[in-house]
Every structure is written in C-alpha cells, then in structure tokens.
C-alpha cells in the first residue's frame, strides 16, 4: 500500500514488480496521460498541487478504498510540474483476489482523485495558458459510491 507524489516520471513495470504479492488473483491499473485536446497545439501541461495536503488527501482516499473493498495491495503515483504531451501524469493500481473488487476500487480511486485531490492542471498552448476546468460530471461521479 503506498501513495507517492513526485515530479519525476515513473516506470510501470518497476511499480508493478511484486505488486499484490502471492495472494492477489487480479491486478487492475490505470494510467493518465497528457492528451492534446485541441488540434495538436498543446505545448505542455503544468500541474500545481498543495504540497502540505496532497499526500494526506491521497492517503485518505486510499484508506477509504481499502475499507470498501478487499484489497491485497493499492498504489497511487501522481506527478506534478511541467509535463509534455504523451507523458504519464499518474497511475493507480489495485490488487485483489478477484477482478470485481480490483476494478471497482480502481474506478473509485480515479473518481476521488479527479475532484478531491488538491491538483490543478493548466494547459499551455501556442495561444496562451488556460486552467483546466472541473466538470460537473466529475462531481456527480462521486455519488455512485
């Protein structure tokens, strides 16, 4: 079980080596990537966070997931700083005896990361800089849990 907030990139294979131990029958992973949404003019994405709060907020979300599902392992890695298109932003991984818990917990983690973890994304394009706005759907996504 771990949560990491870092500027550096991460390596999926390295993160998943030994993940879940010998009891997990299912591992689900999700990776978020910097996506150029507007006709290839995205130069970079700047991710700001609240250093004093980020780690504890992510740990609280992870602990909530572990209370709700039977997980053998759980990992959240989230980057901050300036990222270029196609770079990895973050990942979650969940391990459980069966796939239903692993899938559900991974979706739960993502839904909460979207609107309850103190990160803010700014898109830097040729035309200027724009803060990414939260979507109403991100908030309503929490209601199903």
């Amino acid at each position: 079980m771990s949560v990491r907030v870092q500027a550096e990139d991460f390596d999926m294979a390295h993160e998943l080596a030994g993940f879940g131990g010998s009891s997990a029958g299912a591992i689900v992973t999700f990776t978020g990537i910097v996506r150029d949404t507007k006709a290839a003019d995205l130069q970079a994405m700047e991710i700001e966070h609240y250093p004093a709060m980020t780690q504890s907020a992510l740990e609280a979300i992870e602990a909530d997931a572990r209370r709700r599902w039977s997980l053998d392992d759980c990992l959240i890695v989230h980057r901050f700083g300036r990222l270029r298109p196609a770079e990895r932003i973050m990942m979650v991984a969940t391990a459980s005896a069966h796939r239903a818990d692993a899938f559900a917990a991974a979706e739960f983690l993502m839904d909460y990361l979207k609107s309850r973890a103190p990160f803010w994304k700014k898109e830097i394009t040729r035309d200027g800089e724009v803060w990414v706005e939260s979507k109403a759907a991100d908030e309503t996504a929490l209601e199903r849990w």
Binding site: G32, E48, H49, Y50, A52, M53, S56, A57, H78, I89, M90, M110, L113, K114, S115, R116, A117, P118, F119, W120, K121, K122, W131, V132, E133, S134, E139
Partner: protein, 82 residues
C-alpha cells in the same frame, strides 16, 4: 494571525501564493468578506464563490466553517487531479 495560501487561478488573481492575515473573522466566509473589502484583486479572486474550494489545516471544509484554532486556510478552484 492566520496563514492564507492560494492555488491555481485564485493564486494568480490574488497575486501571491501565501500571506499572513490579521483577522477578526470567526468563519471562513467572514475572512473572505474581509479580504474582499481590502482590494480589488481579492474581489476578482472571490467573485464567483461557486468556484471556490476551502481547506482548513489541509482538510476540505465548507465556507461557513469556523476559523477557531486553524493555523492555515487555503483557497483554490475545484480540483482537477487524475
């Protein structure tokens, strides 16, 4: 005195990431009113309260939360993690 920190476009509108504020407000909402009365940049930052989120000592709270005992209040837009 309370430490006030700002993030994302709230930080940009206020024009600084952190400051110490002398306040007699008893709630977060009261503190926001004091700030808005100070200068136009605060009015700009807090013009749409539906777009403001608040954390007291790194825990999310509503704007009507009491300030009593809090060391740090943070103001920021809705989060966009993931």
């Amino acid at each position: 005195m309370i430490d006030v920190v700002y993030f994302a476009w709230v930080r940009e509108r206020v024009g600084l990431p952190k400051e110490q504020v002398e306040t007699s407000a008893t709630t977060v909402a009261g503190l926001i009113e004091e700030l808005r009365a100070r200068e136009e940049r605060y009015q700009l930052a807090f013009s749409d309260m539906s777009a403001i989120r608040v954390a007291l000592d790194q825990t999310l709270v509503d704007v009507d939360a009491p300030l009593a005992g809090a060391r740090e209040v943070a103001f920021f837009p809705p989060m966009t993690g993931g």
